[in-house]
């Protein structure tokens, strides 16, 4: 990951947090005084490096981990705003990345039951007793990150 890719990655994340949606390559190019194709090419390299996740065969962003760029059952509420996460780990990770407390409303992918968590002063103040099951061994997480 070279310096250009890092600049593009960091601007993409910054734009996402500011606006709440994934930026278009043209927007990132304009912000960084680059050509659009440079951002598109960087997105493909960043996808291969697992620094972001594109929708298959496109340059549309699906994940800016821990954030999801698409709607999911895992909703995070913090600082008066809401976000979608990719999973329970990412939902808590959104609060960690934002350095804030907040609430999580999710759904168990196994039984469909609603799940609610709340973080206060960095600690789980609601839902701490719940258990989380990891299905995929760590070395295989990126085999199919959407499934993981």
């Amino acid at each position: 990951m070279d310096e250009l890719d890092l600049r593009i990655r960091n601007e993409t994340y910054s734009s996402f947090v500011a606006s709440g949606h994934a930026p278009e390559p043209a927007d990132v190019a304009a912000a960084l005084d680059l050509e659009e194709h440079e951002v598109v090419e960087a997105y493909r390299r960043l996808h291969d490096a697992h620094a972001l996740v594109l929708e298959p065969d496109t340059t549309r962003i699906r994940m800016l981990n821990p954030f999801s760029a698409v709607e999911t059952p895992h909703r995070v509420e913090a600082r008066g705003r809401s976000w979608f996460a990719n999973c329970a780990w990412d939902a808590l990770g959104i609060l960690g990345a934002l350095h804030t407390d907040g609430a999580i409303r999710s759904q168990c992918p196994d039984c469909g039951e609603s799940v609610e968590l709340e973080v206060g002063d960095g600690e789980l103040v609601r839902g701490a007793e719940l258990l989380v099951h990891f299905v995929v061994p760590a070395r295989h997480w990126w085999d199919d990150i959407a499934f993981t």
């Binding site: 990951m1 994340y13 780990w89 990345a97 061994p137």
Partner: protein, 47 residues
């Protein structure tokens, strides 16, 4: 694992994600985070 442990993991894993000078961690650094919250053994090996 408990949700409390997952919260601890998530905070350590994602805390620096939005820093303007973010750079990727090495596999060893990521493995260390897992170990810090007690996630050891083959299931948790990243490589």
């Amino acid at each position: 694992m408990s949700a409390a442990t997952l919260n601890e993991l998530a905070r350590r894993w994602w805390w620096t994600r939005l820093e303007p000078d973010w750079r990727p961690r090495t596999a060893a650094e990521s493995q260390a985070i897992l170990e810090e919250v007690g996630l050891i053994g083959d299931f948790w090996r990243l490589t």
